[in-house]
Amino acid sequence: MKEEISRNPLHGLWALTHRELKKWYKEPIVFLVSIIQPIFWMGLFGKAMNINAIIANNLPPNIPRWLAEQIIKQTFGTSDYFSYMAIGMLSFVTLFTTMFSGMSIIWDRRLGFLDKVLSTPVARSVIIFSKIFSATIRSLVQASIILIFAILLGLKFGPNFTPISLLGAYIILFMLCIGLSSLFLMLAIRSTRWEHQMAIVNLLNLPLMFTSNALFPTTTMPEWLRAISNINPITYATDAIRQLLIFETLNANQLMLDFIYMSIFSTIVALISIILSWKYLSK
């Protein structure tokens, strides 16, 4: 009778992850909105905030056009601001999807589902893992849609682009998802009120976004802001993806640093969230 029960320490991981995902893809409205939203951002923000056009159309007559283009290229690393911003949007959508990963654990706690899971032989870390993975899968799907639309709307790949760069970009995005969703889960792990989590999410999302290079290069930021930006994982992730996909010249050292920073960040945050799950999931 007992032999049939799995000894695999990760059993239940897919079941719990799939449960979260079903709530997403089986709800047509939720699914559609989550797909359309990034496209909205992309189309509206990306095309409205057209720095190329702003500069080109407002150029004083005595300044040659090539000079303006050169300035844009110097500032953004590519002569097309839309491409620059589109990559920032990948980080943006990842942040916005993963930051709600903590919410579901609060609901599970409040509705008693968590207690039920805790009374089954599922490992505590698996409960956290399942939330991290479902947020990651969701974010990656949304990021892919963003990328496809960005290409349709005119994203220009850099001269160094190969299919392997695309793979590298996905690895970076994956690490960013794992890191950010672990971070927000960690903040929610003991909470019983979603209001608190909402407040935390609202408090953190803008600083995380605007202290990064997602929308603007950090080189023009004041010293103190650049210092914050230099510890913000979004900065590293975005830089790496830009280098891989759109930049005209590749900075190998910086790219290496991006990868190292992202692997350390995601591993440490994920580990902390798992340790916290052992300690705090049961009261």
């Binding site: 799995s6 695999n8 719990l16 089986k26 409040r110 509705l111 008693g112 207690d115 039920k116 032989p121």
Partner: protein
Amino acid sequence: MVESIIKAKDLTKVFNGYLIAADHVSFEVNEGEIFGFLGPNGAGKTTTINMLTTILKPTKGFATVCGHDIVKEASMVRRKIGVVPQEYTTDEDLTGYENIILCADLYGIPREISKKRAIELLELVKLTEFKDKKVETYSGGMRRRLELACGLINRPRVLFLDEPTLGLDVQTRTSIWEYIKLLKEEYGMTLFMTTHYLEEADALCNRVAIIDHGKILTIGSPEELKSSLGGDIITLSINENKDISSFIEKIENVKEVKRIKDEYRIKVKDGELIAPIIIESLRNNGIKVTKLSLIKPSLNEVYLEYTGRSMRDQEESVEAFRAHRITLRRARKI
């Protein structure tokens, strides 16, 4: 020889360093019986069940379930038990069938077995025709039956039921009782349940522990507990606000008198015969009886006897209260 499948010794849980939810709770449950924890909300029933099902760690004391220590061998305990929590914990966004399969996966049961078992359990709780409907469309009774089915997916040796009929109407409650009895017969397992409905404990449990303020006050079968009262109970009120306990005590065959607020609870033998005598002798002393009732012993009387009051309505915590409200709201949704 009957084995003790659950042994608890001095189980104590203190929340936040001062809130004593369970206070040196000790008891044993025999294999194959239905054991009930009876007490008002906030008495420590759910806390005890949460400790036994390894969700909470005891502050002090220890317990074994199926021979495994609930702290040191928690994962062994979890494999062998089934839990039906107080709240409706099935996922509303999934269908009944998906919920059972999810539970099976949490126990690591291979899909070939879980599929067969899910169908069988859904049949048992008569939910086969609703199996592909989302749980949000279920009524309270259907949800509770689904919870029962989920709790049985791993063929547990002990099934824990926390307030299995909370918030259900009388009819649905009786039908849930039938299912519980049926499940017990079908699978021959041990059931540990909590309830604050006296009728429920009376109808289902082989043995009952009365618990209040985190302490066990008495343990016994409903019959034992009732006969331990040693007779019938007469309650009466008089038109004056003075204590006449000592006067009543002197009447022949009166065993004990307790004054609870404005009422006197008089324990007597052969209540039918004594009641007229009491009225008579009070009247002879110029005291008018305004109200009188005669009660044959029930668990309610046992409960009053041990706790000194009726079921009180008080919640354990804001969190529990919220969960309770959500449960009630869902239970009432048809």
